[in-house]
Structures are given as structure tokens and as C-alpha cells.
Amino acid sequence: MTATSAQTVIAPTRARTAAAGATVRRKQGFQHGGWFVAPFLALFALFVIWPLLRGLYLSFTDANISGDATSFIGLDNYREALDDPLVWESLGHSAYFTLLVVPCITVLAFLLAMLAHHIERGKWLWRLCFFAPFLLPSTVAANLWQWLFNPGTGMINHVFGIETAWLTDKSYAMLAVVVCTLWWTVGFSFLLYLAALQGIPAHLYEAARLDGANAWHRMVHITLPMLRHITGLVIALQILASLQVFDQAVVMMDFLPGPEGSTRTFVQYTLEEGFTSYRVGYASAISIIFFVIIAAVALARMWLLRNREEGGR
């Protein structure tokens, strides 16, 4: 504002002042951005940071859900958690689920993407078929597979002519949850792979063909190396999502922990402690432990990425 009024008064120095005004304005343009981030920060503080801090605080208390007077009990909750067999068991179930789902989804998504990428006709149809299940709510997918796995009236046993008690035998229950998850979520990773495949420059393949490379060589020496980054991403996203499994397992088992507790996941256990046993303090403590595990996985990935980038240079 001052720059403009100065211009009109002192005509000879007009050009210089205008230029100075422009720099000032340009700099100002990128300053004082607090208002841009304020609305997000307000929501973020209320619903992410505050619960995190509150959870940390509650984990040192014996709080319960009805809001009775709570007292500070130090590390007792954490000590109890380390001795609680159900903590280890449910953590083991989530880890087992992750161990089964992540490799299967990565390989399956890659194969589906290769298939959809190389068929010349009806690309949209293949994309629709492989991706459609991802658009269903998790509970619908779970109900659907609960129905398919139903021992007496379900289609799976009928089609394969077997009589497996999928949902009530503890050696099969988690497998049933895994199969449902694969069908339901592989479409997401499939799309990531498909986008990456379409991003590989065609001239690489042409050059390889001129050099006499066959299809197998082209795949091993061009496609797979070019997909390394995306594979890392798919695996990381899947590990983080799979460790947090809850919906499918719970709905397929009618909101129970499955046969002999064999599908009780870690998230399910925290909610049982918090909402069924009303032990908010203890539930907060094991949630914080879970947060630390998730954060460790995420940080490990960042660290790996940084190392790889530095190694590449």
C-alpha cells in the first residue's frame, strides 16, 4: 500500500519503487501462512494429537469407562500387559494374518496387473472385475464370505465337494479371513501395479527386442527392476494395513473371537478391554504399545528408503 502511494508522489523514482514494492509483495505473498493450516490443525489437534496424549496419560492410570475417580498407577498397566498371554496371543494372530496376506497380495496383484496390462481387448472390463470387490464395505465382504464358507449351505464346500468347518475349526478360521481379505483388497494393489506398468517407457522394451531378448528376459531385466519401488510401497502399505486388521475377522466370526479365540486380533483385544471390560487405562496402555509397533514399522520403511536412495547415488 505504501509503495503505491510513494509512486504517485515521486514520479522519477517510480520504476525503482515499483520494483521494490513487487519484491516486498512477492515475499509477503509466501509469508504468514498460519491461517491456511489453522482449520486442519484444529481438527488434527482435537482428534489425533489430543487422543494420543490422552491415551498416553490414561495408560498410567486405572481409568474405567464410566468416569469413576482414577488414580495414577505408574507403569502397572505396562507391566501387566507384558505378562498378559492374550496380548501376545492376539498380537501373534495379527502378525500371522499379516504374514499370510502380504506376500499373497503382492504376488497376486502383480500377476493380475500383468494379465490386465497385456490383454489388448476390453481393458476396462478386467479392471472393473479385479477392482470391484475393493468398493464393497469390509463388513459386506465379510458377510459374503461368511456365507460362502458356511459349512452346510455355503458354496465353497459345495463347489469343491468337501466338508471343512471353515469358521468353527481353529486351524481354518484365520485362513478363511485371509481368503476374504485377499479377494476384497487385492484390487487396490492391483491398480498401483497397473499404473506402474503403464509408466514403464515402451522404448526400453523395443530396445531389448532389437537386442534379441525374449519375453522372459524382458520381464526379468526390465519389468521387475522397474517395479521395485512400487513393490516396496505395496508391501509397506499392506503390512501397516494388515497389522490393523479388525473388520473382516470380527464380522465373519459374529463379533466373537473365533474358535478358541483363534481369530482374536490385536485391535479386537484393545476394544474388548476398553468397551467390554471397561478398563480404559489398560486398553490405552496396550493401544500405546500397538502405536509404538506401527510407528516402528513405518519408521523402518522410511529408513530403508533413505538408505536405498543414498546407496543409489
Binding site: 512477492r26 498460519g34 487422543p51 481387448r121 463388513t139 490393523q244 480404559v280
Partner: protein, 298 residues
Amino acid sequence: MSTAAQTRVNTRKAARRTSGRATRRPWTPSQIVLTLLGAAVSAVFLAPLAWALFTSLKSETEAVEVPTHWLPKDWTTQAWSAIFETGNITNWFVNSLVVSVCVTAVVLSVGALAGYGFARTEFRGKGFLLGLVMTGLMVSPAVLGVPLFTTVQQMGMVDTYWGMILPQCAPAAMVYILYKFFQGIPRELEEAAFIDGAGRWRVFFTIVLPLSRPSLAAVGIFTFIASWNNFLWPYMVTNNPDLMTMPNGIATVMNSYGIQWAQLMAGGLMAGLPLIVVFVFFQRQIVTGVAHTGLAGQ
């Protein structure tokens, strides 16, 4: 004039012809094998959905008949009319719509502002706040459900729309994606506008936002799908059947008094079909949206 128009029509026709020829390439043996394989795999993927549809068109007694059969012997829409007459399904549908639309709108506006603020403006504590946002990437209702619930309870928002909507409105991931995107827009465009005397807000609304339509669409689509399908948070925060969303209502209420499979499948299709139908029409946008949002996690 007329000749010019004529040539234009001719070239367009020619273009169409060549493009038509491109899609009608001869069937090579490898293409035949691949297409058959694709068809077989697609059949496996669609079979569960077909099974749900056929089940929903059987009567309840036929649905649980042994031996199981694919096609209904007596086609009936009993289950469909039953869920509309007796259940709260229309309520849930409206709730789902309200929640997802609100969440998407808030996430888009708040996220775009914050992404731009972090990418392009300077203010005190920016580095620290960005670090906090990165921490937020690791927090979800699955990880911190109980403390999040007690927080929302303290605010008196249990069993309200607010309680369902607001906690879904602070996704650090979406802010991070938009932040990355805004960083990629050339600064010169904005600088030129500043020199012309435009203010920050005007630059944001007239230059930055129109340029980022594809990214905003990607984030919006992804947010809508995630919110429409969200089960865990609405499940924790509502007990009132009138307030439930589709996934939530179907999983809890319809599962509670002895499952009626035909009705359950009809309800499930009601919850899933809108997005699938939308997908058929907006396929390209949704595919790029989901891929873009996922890839931005790199």
C-alpha cells in the same frame, strides 16, 4: 468454407477409421490364451458377487436349502421388499450419504488449505507442525480407538453426526499428498500474480486450485470411498440404530437376531452397488484417483 468443413469431416472420419483398426487387431494365439485366462480369473472374482445376487433373489427357506444351488428355483424379490419395509435400511443409506459427503467436503477444503499452507507459506513452527502431521500418519481409530472414543465422549458427541464425521476429517495422509502436489506447481505462476497485486487468497483460489483439480479429485474420490466403507469408527461411536451407516447397520443390526441370509445379501448389495455403479461410469477418474493417492505414499 464448405470444402474446409468437408475436409475436416473427412479427416475426422479417417482418424476414427484408423483408431477403429487399431482396436481390431487380429487375434494372435497368445492374445486368445491371455483373454481366456482373464475371463476365467474374472469369473472367480465375480462369482461371490453373483452368489450374493442370486441368494438375495431366493426366499429365505430356499437360501438355506441343502444341497446348495446357484440359481433360484423360484425367483422372488421378497428379501428386497422385506429390507425396505421392516428395516432401517433407507435411514442407514441416507446417514451413509450424509456422513461421506460431509467428510469428503471438509477433508477437501481443510486439506487443500493446509497442503498449500505447508507447501508455500512460511510461519513460525512450520517444521515442527509438519513433523506432527507425519506422526499423524501412524494414528488411526484402529490404533488408538479407546482414547479417541473417550475424547469424543468427553465432548458429548457419542451417538451424533458430529461424532461420526469430525474424527474422520483430520487425515494426515491426505494433507501430506496435497502438500507434495502443491510443492510441484511452479512458483513462478504465483509470483507473477503477486507482482500483479493479487493477494494470497486470490492466488490460491484463482491459480492454484484450478491447476490442482486432478489431485483434488483423486483425494476426494479416495476419501469418499474410505468414508462410505468405514466400519470401525461408526461402529465404536454409535449404538443408536437410527444413526448407523450402511456398513455398520448391516453388520450389527442385520446380524443380531439370527441371520436371514437373503435379506443380508440384499442389504450388502445395497451398500456396495452404488460405488460399483459409479465406478462403471467414472472408471478412468476413479482408477487414476486411487492409483494417484496410493502412489503418493512413496
